[in-house]
Symmetry: C2
Subunit: 206 residues, 2 copies
DNA sequence: ACCTTATTTAATAGCTCTATTAATTTATAA
DNA sequence: TTATAAATTAATAGAGCTATTAAATAAGGT
């Protein structure tokens, strides 16, 4: 019999699903389309993943982990607060630039599917609290030292997420609306990388 | 015969559609559900609007106009540049706060439906150019005067949109994730109103 | 009262989608 | 080579959705 050594098919189904889900979201993607994109029968999609839901979860889980890991990660502790912040923002941005479909997938699914949102809530609780506590502590110290204006940690976080995430949510619309070439769009994104950092750091000045 | 004087039904169908489309988007809302929500037969939805698509367009058109009017509007020309900017940002914010479902509706539909995106493109061209030109001119003057750091108009616009729009895109997720009460959520939104202005104005300091 | 037109409903055609099942092909171990 | 299990396909059940149609009801004008 054939053992499941390098089952190419399962992988290509997963990849096809990934592409389509990122493009169209869950409900607008049919298993038929996934099969076609993967170059196989639609029944095979169900053979490997049983339900569309399970397949989606495999993709979502994966993307969600990426999204979070881009947000919460260790930065070199030898740096100044400002440098740490810059590094974190840029890392977050870079993760999104490498996976520009993630914001759409996550926000679309979380806002339209209550069950997924509940699931998300429990995920949030599992986040490494220490990283956040540390962030909060350092921010408060900077404020005490007068190097940063008084600002709530949640506000700073929201600002960072707003600036980075929304760029990739709104980006495709901007691209079409302004009729940007692929090249010009790339340039716009690239320029926003430093612009985002600039806006956020300036917003912290006392 | 009955003339179409105060046909209550058509209106309640439109309102029901509005609620559901804003909540779930186009594809996840069925005309059956719209009929139910409006308290009538599903066939009646088609009787008044012929197709789901036309009904959606009636809603979308309406919401889109709101969205744009909140963005591009005359402000008192006696004010300083900073005050004008503050007024515009707050007006934009207020429009979104009054219609928090709009960003989801617009971005969801524009990213999943290419036809609608094309339509959107032609709409953009019809925007009052004078307002934008004026904005650009005033910004450049402020930069020349050294009161504002050098920044491209498109960057400033993107920042404003990012800060305001993304708040209402991400908001519902934040609310659930952090388990905020209705009251606390309102408070968060309210505090972001001034925080957004603060971030944007600070980001312009030379 | 009667005719005409508007409103509303029930029924259904026709489509697409998910998931399953039974049958077929492929690969491999013995 | 043959038996066996995995991989793949074709077919289809069953559900939901949009849109239409024909019939029923309401309402107003004359």
């Amino acid at each position: 019999m054939k053992i499941n050594n390098d089952s190419n098919t399962e992988k290509s189904i997963l990849e096809a699903a990934e592409r389509l889900f990122l493009q169209k979201g869950f409900s607008l993607t049919s298993t038929t389309a996934i099969g076609k994109e993967a170059g196989c029968n639609q029944a095979l999609v169900h053979y490997y993943f049983r339900t569309k839901e399970r397949l989606f979860e495999a993709v979502f889980e994966n993307k969600f982990r990426l999204f979070v890991s881009g947000l919460v990660q260790k930065v070199d502790s030898g740096l100044s607060f400002e440098e740490k912040l810059r590094t974190a923002i840029e890392a977050h941005y870079d993760m999104l630039a490498a996976n520009p479909g993630i914001p759409f997938l996550i926000f679309n699914e979380l806002t339209t599917n209550p069950r997924r949102l509940e699931n998300f809530k429990s995920r949030i609780r599992e986040l490494p609290v220490t990283v956040l506590k540390q962030f909060q502590k350092e921010l408060e110290e900077e404020i005490k030292k007068g190097k940063v204006r008084p600002v709530a940690p949640v506000d700073l976080l929201l600002t960072i997420i707003s600036m980075n995430v929304s760029l990739f949510l709104v980006g495709p619309v901007i691209k079409t609306a302004l009729d940007l070439s692929e090249r010009d769009y790339k340039k716009l994104l690239e320029s926003r990388r430093s612009e985002n950092v600039a806006v956020i750091l300036r917003s912290l000045r006392p």
